[in-house]
Amino acid sequence: MDRKETIRYVIPLILVIAIVTAVILLGVASQNPDGFEWVLFDFAGVGEPEGGFEGIWSFLGDGVGVEIFTGITGIAAILLLGYGFFWLNARKTE
């Protein structure tokens, strides 16, 4: 993979991380419940389940810094998982 090719791979990733970080920092993302949550819990009035697994980072609490940290670690994790999984399962050309 040449330099130009590498840049094409990396640009969308950097762009997306930058946009997500900016959106979180500026508080631009909607805080409304998503479509499913709104219909089920608000519109239909079904009780929201309590307790259960809240995620591996739940002990960190809430906040902008935590959101950025969990977002970036998630992006890194999915990048590694995606790359590793397809590398292991793809046909080797050499």
Binding site: M1, R8, Y9, V10, I11, P12, L13, V16, I17, I19, V20, V23, I24, A29, S30, Q31, N32, P33, D34, G35, F36, E37, W38, V39, L40, D42, F43, A44, G45, V46, P49, E50, G51, G52, F53, E54, G55, I56, W57, S58, T70, G71, G74, I75, A77, I78, L79, L80, L81, G82, Y83, F85, F86, W87, N89, A90, R91, K92, T93
Partner: protein, 233 residues
């Protein structure tokens, strides 16, 4: 559309784990047979792009929505690779508390299996029709955007059908979840168009519908020729 644990009955979750497990097995077999390691870096990058895009909700008062990306991925890499990437994204999200671990099978079915297969098929039909009146690149952009809109609405309807097993969730709520996702689907279509536009300009070789694609053979679904071959014939 990420359903948490504790909402749906366990028998439904078990059935969905079974169906999703089978589809996961089939998609891994397809990847084993068809995908070569030249496009592996793109798989990781696309998974990360979809994950990051799902972190941000756009407003659809009184609710909100986010990109799912299954049609986008299916148009680019085919439905098998698309659903696998969505499965990985949902797995990491479930570990981070967005969508339950018990509901992983159901979420994977709705956003991965159903959306990838239906989105791919619908986009392909639209692409073949549009290609007769305009060029290939414009056709793929419009086809993917329209297909992703309809798939978002259809997937919400399917989720609504599943939610009918929850006491208190009736036909009115089923209509509401479908209507809300008409507006969320518009956002999905616009985001699909914008992200695909980047790849059409920067790396059209990874869009399976295009003639210059390097992945159309890998992306093809069994019993059918690759999209490019189908159009040429």
């Amino acid at each position: 559309m990420h359903v948490p644990d504790g909402v749906l009955p366990l028998w439904l979750l078990a059935i969905m784990y079974g169906i999703s497990g089978l589809m996961l097995y089939i998609s891994v077999r397809k990847i084993n047979k068809k995908f070569d390691d030249r496009i592996v870096p793109y798989m990781g990058v696309l998974a990360a792009v979809i994950f990051a895009a799902q972190l941000v909700n756009f407003p659809v008062p009184p609710s909100s929505g986010n990109l799912v990306g299954s049609t986008l991925l299916a148009v680019m890499l085919g439905p098998w690779a698309g659903m696998l990437i969505i499965g990985m994204v949902l797995f990491i999200q479930a570990l981070m508390g967005d969508g339950g671990l018990l509901t992983f099978g159901l979420n994977f079915f709705n956003m991965g299996v159903f959306s990838s297969l239906v989105g791919w098929a619908f986009a392909l039909v639209l692409f073949k029709g549009l290609k007769r009146v305009t060029d290939e690149k414009k056709s793929v952009l419009v086809a993917a955007a329209i297909a992703s809109f309809f798939v978002t609405v259809l997937a919400a309807f399917v989720l609504g059908l599943e939610l009918l097993t929850v006491p208190g969730f009736g036909v009115t709520a089923l209509s509401a979840i479908t209507v809300v996702h008409v507006f969320i689907g518009i956002g999905e279509g616009v985001l699909t168009f914008v992200i695909l536009l980047y790849f059409v300009k920067a790396k059209p070789q990874v869009i399976s519908f295009l003639k210059e694609s390097e992945v159309s053979e890998m992306a093809k679904v069994s019993m059918a020729a690759s999209p490019t071959q189908q159009i040429e014939s």
